[in-house]
């Protein structure tokens, strides 16, 4: 079966609609079937619908995503309660260990993102992976720093990512790869991204899964949960009313 590819982290400046249109057109021409961009929690439904319409015109699927960067565990819980039902993908940007641990064990979190390139500020170790393996959270790896960093900074990042990905693999935590770019010049074809990810000591199939199967599974699972008839995993309302 033909693989379909997803990039769950495009950064689009909606104030510059021509740039957003250019980036989305480029993503479609490079072979992506599903894209997503992080919205702020205050984003209106209309803005999301507009972007969904643009993507549909380009024959791409669009998933709404929110990135939250809470300061404390309580703040994380508050944001999840408020936002989980509004967005198809919830990503927690982990800026401290307390938030990282809570995010890893909360089943409402889809993605764990560690955006710092400094290994001391990345908290994806075996304890984090063990917590994430019993919830639904996946580890997000961004390609942008791999493209833009040079020299020793890139060497250190490659070593850190290689360690994180191998821990994730050991604990069966899904890993997704996304671009995290804002310009079309930094967009790459899915198979090129898979080649870049193979620098993290991964075989080709695992690398391709990170940009196709794994992100799709997250979106499909959440769409089912957000659909009207959903009761619990595997249980849904098929008919209601007097004739049941």
């Amino acid at each position: 079966m033909k693989r379909t590819f997803a990039d769950l982290h495009l950064i689009l400046n909606m104030k510059d609609s021509s740039n957003a249109q250019r980036v989305l057109t480029k993503a479609a021409s490079l072979g992506y079937d599903l894209v997503s961009m992080p919205f702020s929690p205050e984003t209106s439904e209309t803005e999301i619908l507009n972007l969904r319409r643009i993507c549909n015109d380009l024959k791409m699927d669009f998933a709404s995503r929110v990135d939250i960067a809470p300061r404390t565990r309580g703040h994380l819980m508050h944001l999840l309660r408020k936002l989980r039902r509004r967005f198809e993908v919830v990503c927690v940007v982990c800026k401290n260990k307390e938030v990282a641990r809570q995010a890893a064990k909360d089943r409402r979190v889809d993605l764990l993102s560690f955006q710092s390139v400094d290994y001391r500020d990345r908290f994806f170790d075996w304890a984090e992976a063990e917590l994430a393996s019993s919830s639904l959270a996946a580890l997000e790896v961004e390609v942008k720093p791999l493209l833009l960093l040079e020299g020793s900074a890139r060497i250190r990042l490659l070593a850190t990512l290689r360690r994180e990905v191998s821990i994730a693999k050991e604990y069966r935590v899904p890993v997704i790869v996304s671009s995290g770019v804002e310009t079309e010049m930094l967009l790459r074809k899915p198979r090129e991204i898979a080649s870049l990810v193979s620098l993290l000591s991964l075989d080709e199939v695992s690398a391709l899964d990170m940009i196709s199967t794994n992100p799709h599974e997250i979106v499909v699972r959440n769409r089912e949960k957000l659909s009207r008839g959903f009761v619990a995993p595997g249980i849904r309302v098929v008919r209601e009313g007097g004739d049941c």
């Binding site: 079309e184 010049m185 930094l186 790459r188 080649s195 870049l196 193979s198 080709e204």
Partner: protein
């Protein structure tokens, strides 16, 4: 001695302005060397077969054993001759004839 198998890659370059063959191939070598070092680069068997300045397309030959590594190095090119650029692989094949058919 075992025969070295090759693959041919048809690539296209996203670049604003005039792009010369030399600039393109220098960027390819620089990227391969940055990622894998001189020892790794020596194993790629990288060679430029064809370059079209107007279409900004090229055909390069690489050793089959290093194909994935060269693809990664190609993807990691972000600048050519000091300007923003991106190199995308359009097609890969074992023979030039079928590569040209695929890339058309």
């Amino acid at each position: 001695m075992k025969r070295i198998k090759h693959r041919y890659l048809a690539v296209e370059v996203d670049f604003d302005g005039m792009l010369t063959q030399r600039d393109f191939f220098d960027a390819m070598w620089a990227s391969v060397t940055r990622l894998y070092g001189e020892f790794g680069a020596s194993k790629t068997g990288l060679a430029l077969i064809d370059f079209d300045e107007e279409e900004r397309t090229a055909i390069v030959r690489v050793s089959l054993a290093m194909l994935q590594q060269v693809r990664a190095a190609t993807a990691s090119i972000t600048r050519i001759a000091g300007r923003e650029a991106a190199v995308h692989v359009r097609a890969i094949s074992g023979t030039l004839k079928s590569l040209r058919d695929k890339a058309r």
